[in-house]
Symmetry: C2
Subunit: 364 residues, 2 copies
């Protein structure tokens, strides 16, 4: 008798994954390089047309004076916060308790920059103006993540965002945007990236989420901020002799996908409707405000895994590669819509949801 397949194995074998842009394999880079003249010169330690042109175009797109390409957002954001803290001579900032910096960076901000974060709001909701007004201490910078990934990609109302921005400016608090998924939230706000960025002093955006590049980030702000961030980029070991594999792919997939964010958003809402019709399933946020949401299911992780493996094998549809336990009898997973969704055979998707609802109805 065979061991049952793991969820990851079944997902990897399923021909129709629901989220993402397809597999992260070498083809993603090969496709980019096929289009490029072999005589194009590498960037060299932050100089050269490849990097300077892209930085210029991204500064324009984000409505900022200047921009610098970084190998990672982790590096870019720590540096942004460091610059604002040094300017004010106050190593204190505020962000959400589920910020990337707090839970995914091994405390780099604290261990490398000795910056103390104050945690605002709680683990169920986004930061609001009141949280900032209630601060008992002065801070150099407030970091807002739009959308807040770890709670399903929630967004504050745009009016709230404007009020936060105005308040921070008035109080001399710099406002930094963790825009890892900024592009993905523009359709809900019905604003351009530049309009949203205008509310912030510095902005980080990523090129391997909605854009689907290999890796890399842009940090944008005023000229002096960007000049300083290049010095820190060298200190961090991020000023590589060649960043072009990331820049060329960021550029290529940006051009391919930046205008598809509305499509991804609409597809996320369509898919959320299908999940909402299943017993014991709750979507977070209830209605998606970007291309992503979280699916919470009132079934144990182990049980849902076996249900999913069965559905993946029967229908070829892959809902998710992993499940996160929340309690003995509940778990959740993240959905993030990319190119793959439009190519799903819709009859199989319906069948997969039919089977899921059937199984859950028995249990719940």
């Amino acid at each position: 008798m065979n061991e049952m397949k793991t969820l990851l194995q079944a997902f990897n074998e399923a021909p129709y994954p629901v989220g993402g842009h397809g597999k992260r394999n070498v083809r993603v880079l090969q496709e980019v390089l096929k289009e490029i003249d072999e005589n194009l010169d590498s960037d060299v330690y932050g100089k050269g047309d490849i990097i300077e042109d892209f930085q210029g175009r991204m500064a324009d797109f984000l409505g900022k004076e200047s921009a610098v390409f970084f190998p990672s957002g982790t590096m870019a954001q720590q540096i942004a916060l460091r610059i604002w803290c040094d300017r004010k001579g106050l190593p204190k900032i505020a962000y959400h308790p589920l910020s990337h910096l707090e839970i995914h960076e091994e405390d780099g901000l604290k261990k490398l920059h000795h910056i103390e974060p104050i945690l605002l709001a709680d683990k169920t909701r986004v930061i609001g103006l009141e949280d900032i007004m209630n601060l008992q201490e002065d801070i150099a910078c407030l970091l807002l993540e739009l959308p807040q990934r770890e709670i399903g990609g929630q967004l504050p109302d745009y009016q709230e965002l404007e009020a936060i921005s105005a308040y921070c400016r008035e109080r001399g608090i710099k406002l930094h945007l963790d825009g890892a998924r900024l592009f993905e939230s523009t359709p809900y706000y019905r604003k351009s990236a530049a309009e949203i960025c205008r509310l912030f002093d510095s902005v980080y955006v990523s090129f391997y989420k909605g854009i689907g590049g290999i890796a890399g980030a842009i940090l944008a702000g005023d000229k002096e901020f960007v000049r300083e961030s290049k010095v820190w980029k060298r200190r961090h070991g991020g000023d590589l002799i060649s960043l072009y594999p990331y820049i060329l792919s960021a550029d290529y997939y940006f051009m391919q996908r930046i205008d598809k964010m509305e499509q991804y958003y609409n597809e996320a809402r369509e898919l959320a409707d299908l999940y909402n019709q299943c017993s014991g399933v709750t979507i977070r946020p209830i209605e998606p405000v970007s291309n992503m949401f979280h699916v919470h299911v009132e079934v144990s992780k182990e049980h849902l895994e076996s249900i999913f493996v069965n559905i993946y094998e029967k229908t070829g549809i892959g809902f998710t590669r992993y499940l996160q336990e929340t309690s003995e009898n509940s778990c959740y997973f993240e959905v993030s819509i990319g190119d793959s969704y439009a190519d799903l055979p819709k009859d199989r998707l319906r069948e997969a949801f039919h089977l899921l609802n059937q199984e859950l109805s028995i249990l719940i």
Copy 2:
């Protein structure tokens, strides 16, 4: 009348550059990817076959328990020093006054890690055992760069190196190898990389110098050291979702060039002889001990530039892309031998040296 060409323009147009492996253009990466199956999965945040296999093979090659791939040597080395300092509870290390960390990293070691370096030896020679024995303070770690790039790639005698290693072990001082050009120094020492690395507690090697990859580095040491370095790699923002563009090219060019280090070394000695025969030219070191050396010329930078531009245009030979002024009437440049040297038309090279010697003889 046309403006005179700059040295860099003339060099870029010269079909026969003397040093290096050829132009750093996109073809370097395209050549690697042509060989790779498009279905090969990306590494993901330091996991996956692409990165783990390469790390394992490099650990073996360097004779160390474990190894981790870094986007840059700047990041790898700061982290190595930080780990050794934390172990001893003493944020103090020693290195050469022309160490990469002292002159090319915008003081990252000091600004991010608050580690104080003590400068050993002087700007004309490598660190010897006596320098270390004369230290007035305790240090956590000594960093040795083999070969010492900024002074023409000088190396200590191997016996001196063994004595330094023994002394450091006895005194509880960790010994770290800046092996940016370690592979290039193995022919002179007549030792394998692993034999040399045995003298050190931790080792960094680079993949875009003699190896000619795109970027990237390996840091190797014992298992616990490497485990900690992965945590710091994440803190620095170097734990990218995908490092495979660098890893695949490091691997490809390592296989292609690791056995050519002896050839490059012999060619460097041959070329040094040609320079040594020119009036007013001194090679540093007098006889090369790796694939590199510095060429010091007793002529002003401006004057030598015009001589070189003329020779490049007449012969197609490109000696160097830049000159570094040392005084009003002297300058120098670095030579680093790679694949290009073997392909030079030797008659043109002889002609270029004939012209150079002619011009210099008039002047000096």
